[in-house]
Subunit: 405 residues, 2 copies
Amino acid sequence: MNKPKIVILGAGYGGIITATRLQKTLSANEAEITLVNKNSYHYQTTWLHENAAGTLHHDRTRLDIKDVINPSKINFIQDTVTEIKPEDKKVVLTHGELNYDYLVIGLGFESETFGIKGLKEHAFSIASINAARQIREHIDYSFSKYHNTPAEKRDELLTIIVGGAGFTGIEFVGELANRVPELCKEYDIDRDLVRIVCVEAAPMVLPGFDPELVDYAVSQLEKKGVEFKIGTAIKECTEEGIIVAKGEETEEIKSATVVWAAGVRGNALVEQAGFEAMRGRVKVTKDMRVPGYDDVFIVGDSALLIDEVNNRPYPPTAQIAIQQGFNVAHNLAVLVRGKGELEEFTPDIKGTVCSLGHDDAIGVVFGKKLTGWKASFMKKVIDNRYLFVLGGPMLVLKKGKLNLL
Amino acid sequence: MNKPKIVILGAGYGGIITATRLQKTLSANEAEITLVNKNSYHYQTTWLHENAAGTLHHDRTRLDIKDVINPSKINFIQDTVTEIKPEDKKVVLTHGELNYDYLVIGLGFESETFGIKGLKEHAFSIASINAARQIREHIDYSFSKYHNTPAEKRDELLTIIVGGAGFTGIEFVGELANRVPELCKEYDIDRDLVRIVCVEAAPMVLPGFDPELVDYAVSQLEKKGVEFKIGTAIKECTEEGIIVAKGEETEEIKSATVVWAAGVRGNALVEQAGFEAMRGRVKVTKDMRVPGYDDVFIVGDSALLIDEVNNRPYPPTAQIAIQQGFNVAHNLAVLVRGKGELEEFTPDIKGTVCSLGHDDAIGVVFGKKLTGWKASFMKKVIDNRYLFVLGGPMLVLKKGKLNLL
């Protein structure tokens, strides 16, 4: 009666979907499944920019793992992974060790600062519930200081700099543009004094997106008071703001709040495990395994997949991580039972929607370009669909975005 | 048709009551009345500790001056007073000057730090709406940092030190004790990690209060987790906390949040005007005028009145400031009309209630000792009565504490 041991590290999109699919597929006597996560909750990373801007409470973005995990099928351990030892088939946690027969790594992303001086020390990153609510409070606190600060030192309290005009950066400035009027009311501040500055080193906003949609996004955000500095690199981040360069010219922008949203990498533990990796991402096999380690799967941000159409890596999105969870759960069931067919993983990109605040968005869904309320509607449908897949209709009712328009 | 000019400086308790009483008594062609205040709003200073603790929103504590001032009777100028020139019968504002025939000074209190090193730089004072909401945000922000801060540096984020166990200090720790469980829930923090420390140099809590009531207060607050350090002086306040001394022994208490609630003084402008003053307080005549200046009245915190029963100054309370407003308005009407009787001011202390959070209090009302919900009820009745006097029943409905139990 030696049941195979499946250990899943991380309850992000990939990990939690793997776990919930496995508990649907396997009976308790087919495998011993353990899910490890450092928090007692799962959260939707793609909503964190709303928590950070203060437009959505973080309790709407997270859910108790025990609400979606059946304890008779899966052991949940709340602990932090400190080391993966693939040669010993072992995982080290802060408070113990686990042996596995099959390992699923879904440990998520880390912020990548590309060695830009001072970013690690002085900039925030929208990396977790803990980080997002600190950013929210930091902005509130900065505004609350305004009237108690000498005139020559206070304008920077109202300047928010967002590094990066990719997906996260744009969605975040969109929420900020909605949030700022509320902040101004709360702290008796003139809206015209507040700056939201989005700095992007690349020559365009949302690289890879349809240019017509990008133009729409920029124009809408500019109307809401967002300033764009495109083709402008952050050279340094200090306690007082950032130094940027465009060509030969450099400029200092003073700011109490710098949020770095321009780079992610895979988890450092993946490299430390001895797997061949680039920035914490392992180029996995077609069924999401680490080359040379048939018992180790990777889902989500630490898995590198090449899109054969353009020979470039797929972006590390929730959509793909969720699909990987389905795929890995299927293949694990096949391996545990010793019957059935292993399936290769192929992303099925149904669409991509980038929100511009709660009431506006741009996107391509099933090949169709959308802007405005239609795109915003689709974004919420996508968010709700995930909750439905994870926890059924009750979870949608409890945590979903039900105010669709 | 040379109407006498009455200028009222400050729209605190004393100033706003003087103004609203005058607009009731005098017709527009009897006097030209001007009210100067640096904000567009009036606020109840005695509620600020609730705003600072985060248990009551600051918009509940303030009201638009234009909602209680009749513009056909009183000119309201939003500006900051920078100098009072009694010899020239003139007041200098940031953006102009005003001449007066009669002046009423109601400029409120300033924090008095008694020269304790570092207090001015590193401690907060519950001095205004601006200050109170910054304290609220500072505490929230400190809690929000907890999970993102290394273990050896984070406990101080959850330690709140209140300097002073007088009225403000006790009422503030009472509100904090109510607020902390909510903060712990919001930021996923164990309540046992949070400290509320009340430090008082005097040998007792609430000096002057009935000892039986004081014992009740201390015991109730200790049950809610407040630590008292009585007979303990703050020697220094640093970026990292405070250094206290009890007898020969000194101790450092690390804390991200030090709130100084142990000393107030009158407004420095009163001294700078050349009036004889002690810590910004002028020992006024029996009808609230500055000795030697028959055209200058002082109401509220900058007026020093001696209680002839015990030969000690009356404390600078809202109750007394309000009564002074009535008195000064009456006497101004007499002076303007040149008929009627000037009245001496005599405080009529109806009672004193010190809250211990929203659901508990201690007090003496009409000579009767009260604790618990009865005292708490009376506190809210007193708060509502003030709003009634100021703006009638509609103001009570709009801003009052209607949840009496």
